[in-house]
């Protein structure tokens, strides 16, 4: 995994795993690799991976089962909620950046629509 050195590593690992859950690479109820294996997979420190997992456990997306490991939650509602959260965060960024360019809400909507149409035609 290529990390952005400016952003806390645990946060990037968290987002990486959330991404895998939302896209379905990791399924509800699926067991996660061991902490050390995850550390090797993403080339990070075991403690940093552990911190990322703790954050996800607190958020209720990962469940830690004593002696058995970590599992993706079976509650699909929670995963849906997570998806909404991540989408909102992305939208908020775009919205703020476009506002900073003095675009009104209507103008943002129009340019987004135009952009999507163009991208759709390009495919």
């Amino acid at each position: 995994m290529n990390f952005d050195d400016k952003v806390p590593i645990y946060y990037q690992i968290e987002n990486h795993i959330y991404h895998e859950i939302i896209t379905g690479t990791l399924k509800p109820g699926e067991k996660l690799p061991s902490v050390r294996q995850l550390a090797v997979d993403v080339t990070a420190n075991v403690n940093t991976v552990q911190r990322a997992l703790s954050e996800m456990i607190t958020a209720g997306i990962i469940e830690s089962k004593r002696g058995r490991g970590n599992f993706v939650t079976m509650e699909t509602a929670k995963i849906e909620q997570l998806k909404v959260q991540l989408v909102t965060a992305q939208l908020a960024q775009v919205y703020e950046q476009l506002h900073a360019l003095n675009l009104s809400d209507t103008e943002i909507l129009t340019s987004l629509q135009q952009y999507i149409q163009q991208r759709g035609q390009a495919k």
């Binding site: 050195d5 400016k6 590593i9 050390r36 090797v40 080339t43």
Partner: protein, 236 residues
Amino acid sequence: MTDSLSMQNVTYKRGMKTILHDVDLTLAPGKIVGLLGENGAGKTTLMRLITGSAKGKGTTMVNGAAAEADRKRYVSFSEQLRGFAGGTKLVKIVAFYETVYGDFEADRFAELADFLQIDTSLKLAALSKGMKEKLVIALTLARRTTLYLLDEPFSGIDSMSRKKIINSIIQWKPENATMVISDHYVSEIAPILDEIVVVKDQTIYTHRKADEVREEFNIGIEAYYESLYERGNDND
């Protein structure tokens, strides 16, 4: 739990010249720590003070032990194998390590050698720089101990070897062991560090958690490290 390393008021002079002064450094178990500083800042000296091969004033304890013999037992230092003749076969070096260090695990070495693709039938002089560094890493990590000191393991080696070495560190560092990795080029190891220690102005200039630096300043470890030098040098 006992600290892996505890140094208090350590000062080291060579002749009239102060190399390091008032070093206070405590490292908790289970961490990977980047020891950063310019060439000649005193990183290797600090490691030699920890192993006991350099003798300074002050207290140094490894895993709670202050006596030099005990410290040597709890520290695995990446020796550069200068004591071996070029014609020595690697199997002989491995056998030597096994005899000298009671905590050297032959099967651990075999796993590491396999992972790093080290051919132990070769002679020391036949190894490329990268391969020799891999051998040093395998020998250092094959001991199962408390504190590992890797002195510039990435200097002058290609990126593939570097990645392999970083992976072997993640895979083979015992959970509660602490590892200190010195480097003057930070970006390659930044993602695997728990903490950074900067040696500057002949002392420990700063000691921080890596993710705290990123959260607090919104900059990378390398940029943070460089910013310490931009503030102006207060060298004597």
